[in-house]
């Protein structure tokens, strides 16, 4: 099976005095569903940042989607990100844009034709049950609805990898379940690799998953 993420002796830190991730060795196979857990401040989000290139590795090797992340150029980084779907706890939707345009963002960036993009966006908004709200702006929606918009945006361009940073951290139980279902659907139906950073793994997961835990800078797989 292809490895979509490969980490060898990966070390991450924001400054020289404090190492967040220390010589982590792990790999994630294409099409798998992965949870990364750990206590607050353990380095879960830091590790995720390195996966979408917001933080450069200090040492070691990190390959994401076949792209070497060490000293990556902005052109290569843009190319990689055009094949990733990222979901954040605080949604990161563009407030000035309506829902439809927010979901369309990855398609605009990838240069899809307008009519193709519009069909894809309508399909996704129907999928996340927000097709009747496409003209609304993010701040007119509830937290759960905003996260569904973020999910639709993450899926818009059929990414090879979805990276989700505590996607249900701000949501109630019902909305959280909707998001888990969407992530599971992306993994099972579209065969997209999903990496989720979270405090708690939901009990009723319907897909097999890998679980990595971060403790004291070490990343290890929980079996």
């Amino acid at each position: 099976m292809d490895k979509v993420i490969l980490s060898q002796d990966l070390t991450l830190s924001y400054n020289e005095d404090e190492i967040i991730i220390n010589k982590a060795n792990f790999s994630i196979n294409s099409g798998s569903f992965v949870f990364i857990t750990g206590a607050s401040g353990s380095g879960k989000s830091t590790l995720l940042k390195s996966l979408y290139g917001a933080l450069n590795p200090n040492s070691g090797k990190l390959i994401v989607g076949g792209v070497e992340m060490n000293g990556i150029t902005s052109k290569k980084l843009n190319f990689l990100r055009q094949h990733l779907g990222i979901v954040f706890q605080d949604y990161k939707l563009i407030k000035e844009w309506n829902i439809e345009k927010n979901v369309m963002l990855p398609l605009i960036i990838s240069g899809y034709a307008k009519d193709v993009s519009e069909i894809q966006v309508q399909k996704l908004l129907t999928h996340v049950k927000l097709n009747h709200q496409s003209g609304k702006f993010p701040l007119e929606l509830s937290g759960g609805e905003q996260q569904r918009v973020a999910m639709a945006r993450a899926l818009a361009h059929n990414p090879i990898l979805i990276l989700a940073d505590e996607p249900t951290g701000n949501l109630d139980d019902y909305s959280s379940q909707v998001i888990w279902n969407l992530l599971e659907g992306a993994n099972t139906q579209l065969k997209t690799t999903v990496v989720v950073v979270t405090h708690h793994i939901p009990e009723n997961m319907n897909v097999p998953y890998q679980h990595f835990r971060i403790e004291y800078g070490s990343v290890y797989e929980v079996t």
Binding site: S74, R81, H83, L93, L105, P106, I109, S110
Partner: protein, 270 residues
């Protein structure tokens, strides 16, 4: 309404700068037109012991364009009754040569001093009459007005630049989040900044159109033209293509510089 607010502060700032620039352009045009008129009436008289020609004068000062010799016949006619023809011919031979010089420019008092000094470098030149004392008072007043306008324009430019700088910070704050989100999905810099550049270009067009319209109205209104005619000046207050292009170029350059500063100063925050 929100979109209008986004544009208004930059449009007002650009309008102020462009208005000042066009005011300066008009003052400059008026002075140039007045200089042209004065230039045709101005000349320097040179008394030389030897015969001179235009090339010699131009070597001394290249602003000299025309030379004509002043014949002393009129003066000598008065002496014809008292002197013999032979004596008059002798006087004529020993008299110095008088030349009237015309210039390519209407000189400022300082330029007059410099031209006189240059002509005097020739040892055969005995006297230069530059009529500096009769230098036109209206022209001096216009030069003073030009200097005042220039100082005024610089002050406006400095103050408005500060306003633009403040506006720039607001823009930077407003757009940082959007640009960071677009970067997360792999948008290249030009796409992330497209909104800013569009805003900058639209504001440049709007402000230059507003200033152009204002000066077009002023140029068709009789008041300015009448005032200028009073001091003997006839100019085109606003030349649509020339002045319009200048205003747009300034507005465009300024607003693009502003947008570029924001883009270059932007740091990706995740």
């Amino acid at each position: 309404m929100k979109s209008l607010k986004n544009h208004l502060s930059l449009v007002i700032a650009l309008f102020t700068i462009l208005f000042t620039i066009q005011t300066f352009v008009i003052v400059n045009k008026a002075i140039t037109a007045y200089e042209e008129e004065l230039k045709s009436n101005y000349s320097i008289v040179v008394v030389s012991m030897k015969k001179m020609d235009i090339e010699k004068f131009q070597k001394l000062d290249n602003s000299i364009t025309k030379m004509s010799q002043i014949e002393p016949d009129n003066v000598l006619k008065k002496l014809e009754q008292d002197l013999k023809k032979k004596d008059i011919a002798l006087i004529k031979l020993t008299l110095p040569k008088f030349y009237k010089l015309e210039l390519s420019i209407y000189p400022t008092p300082d330029q007059i001093k410099s031209i006189s000094k240059n002509i005097r470098r020739d040892s055969s030149v005995k006297r230069v009459v530059d009529f500096a004392k009769n230098h036109d008072k209206v022209y001096k007043l216009l030069l003073l007005f030009k200097s005042v306008t220039l100082v005024f324009a610089f002050s406006i430019f400095a103050v408005t630049s500060l306003l633009i700088l403040k506006e720039m910070r607001i823009w930077q704050f407003k757009h940082t989040e959007r640009m960071a989100i677009m970067a997360l999905f792999g948008a290249p810099v030009w796409l992330r900044s497209a909104v800013l550049f569009r805003l900058a270009i639209v504001d440049a067009i709007v402000s230059s159109l507003l200033v152009s319209t204002t000066f077009l109205i002023l140029s068709t209104d009789g008041w300015i033209n009448a005032e200028l005619k009073n001091i003997g000046i006839e100019i085109e207050v606003f030349a649509i293509f020339q002045d319009g292009a200048l205003l747009f170029a300034v507005a465009f350059a300024l607003s693009i510089a502003l947008a570029s500063m924001i883009v270059l100063g932007h740091k990706e925050e995740v």
